[in-house]
Symmetry: C2
Subunit: 228 residues, 2 copies
DNA sequence: ACACAGTATTAGGCTGTCCTAAATTGGAGC
DNA sequence: GCTCCAATTTAGGACAGCCTAATACTGTGT
């Protein structure tokens, strides 16, 4: 049964669900109904209903009261959306004057409307980039993705100097604040102090010191310089 | 009542209806249910139903059994879609390697997904063009549009030389054929002969003679050279 | 003046996606 | 092992859009 479902085009809603579930299940962990509902700003019953339909179509597996996991096919569809989204973001920033804080919303709509042809043309125009403007890796057209291993800034030891690789946020205000501190992908950051509570770290970037709280500390994914 | 409806965003379907009705009513003539149904590939009852909803929202006026006409507001929304569509086509041809026969379908989907911001950025990148790749005029952002007066090729007198201004087709096969004859906007065409029946005209373009039938004769909109 | 052909509308249904309110279930803590 | 809370699912409903079949209208031709 599960094999028969391929190739009919998915609705916008379905694409959003698959992308959300993919994002909620690193390492193939199961995503819960309420997590999905929260991420998509829907009610939990709506999610239960859709999840049931998607599992009938072979895109995911649902163990009632336990959560959902994408099937191979669902994962493929989700990665396709992630590729689209990130390439569109990269294209808009590179060629149409978007800044990284405004690009997410536009890409969120376009990712459902572009053809595969257009996506690949944008990729070519960009020189087939491997990361988007936030440093997130762009899945290849064949669905492979290599997650680069990063450490949240909040886990970096005092005295270490690292490079910001990914900035895991989509809200414009947050991104603008982060950019105003100079914490864009590629920036070099030194952790100069750490508070014993609340994961507060003091960092130095571009000669300036700032204190970073728990949330931003997790949003900023870093790695040793010259690491991949 | 009619004024209260503004600014809620329109659905894809609604946008398609408005654009179709706009295209079917040159000079504010009324469009019939069956014309709309045919253009959108829907059943007439579906059109009646939607038309009813749209007239409740103040986007058009419906006189039962007589046809529909856009209101000011509906016309504005339709022109917005036409602008989007034509600018997207121009952008894709100019920057992403699309040819005029493949670009329509892509634009048809994108026009519903782009933001006003993106449309205006594409317009700037293009240098604010006034016509799209098919020679169709692009409405201004304020909704004004100047229709250039053209004559169908089938109405040009024998012996006259004219310039192709607009090519009013969207089907890829037809457009490819037209392009293969060199009949792109800007091409100079001389009518060398005309059959007494079926509107067949013999033309010369780029030193080659071709016979053009009734349909293509209407698709090819021409004007005297150096006419605007 | 009237019948009829063709067009348009009404009636009744289906699907996809969402919602709120009311059960149900699983696991934490006693 | 039982109780209870929070998470989840079921029940029941709304709305946008679409369809087919049945009915109503309009204008044409005689």
């Amino acid at each position: 049964m599960s094999a028969a479902a391929a190739s009919e085009s998915l609705t916008r809603s379905v694409e959003d669900y698959l992308k959300a579930i993919y994002q909620l299940s690193p390492e193939g962990r199961a995503a819960s109904t309420s997590e999905i509902a929260h991420l998509l700003a829907l009610s939990p019953p709506s999610v239960t209903g859709m999840v049931k339909r998607l599992s009938e179509h072979g895109l995911l597996e649902h163990i009632p009261y336990r959560g959902v996991q994408l099937t191979q096919e669902g994962r493929r569809a989700a990665l396709r959306m992630v590729r689209r989204h990130r390439l569109i973001e990269a294209y808009l920033v590179e060629f149409l004057g978007y800044s990284w804080d405004t690009v997410h919303e536009e890409a969120e709509r376009l990712e459902h409307a572009v053809s595969d042809t257009l996506v690949e043309r944008m990729a070519s125009a960009l020189g087939n980039p491997v990361v988007d403007p936030h440093g997130d890796p762009i899945p290849a057209a064949d669905g492979s993705i290599q997650e680069l291993s990063c450490t949240p800034l909040s886990d970096i030891a005092v005295g270490e100097t690292v490079e910001v690789h990914r900035v895991h946020a989509s809200e414009p205000e947050r991104l603008r604040y982060i950019a105003s501190l100079g914490l864009v992908p590629g920036a070099r950051v030194t952790v100069v102090d750490r508070q014993p509570f609340d994961d507060l770290v003091t960092i130095e970037v571009a000669g300036q010191q700032h204190v970073i709280g728990r949330e931003l500390g997790h949003v900023l994914q870093c790695a040793k310089t010259a690491d991949v």
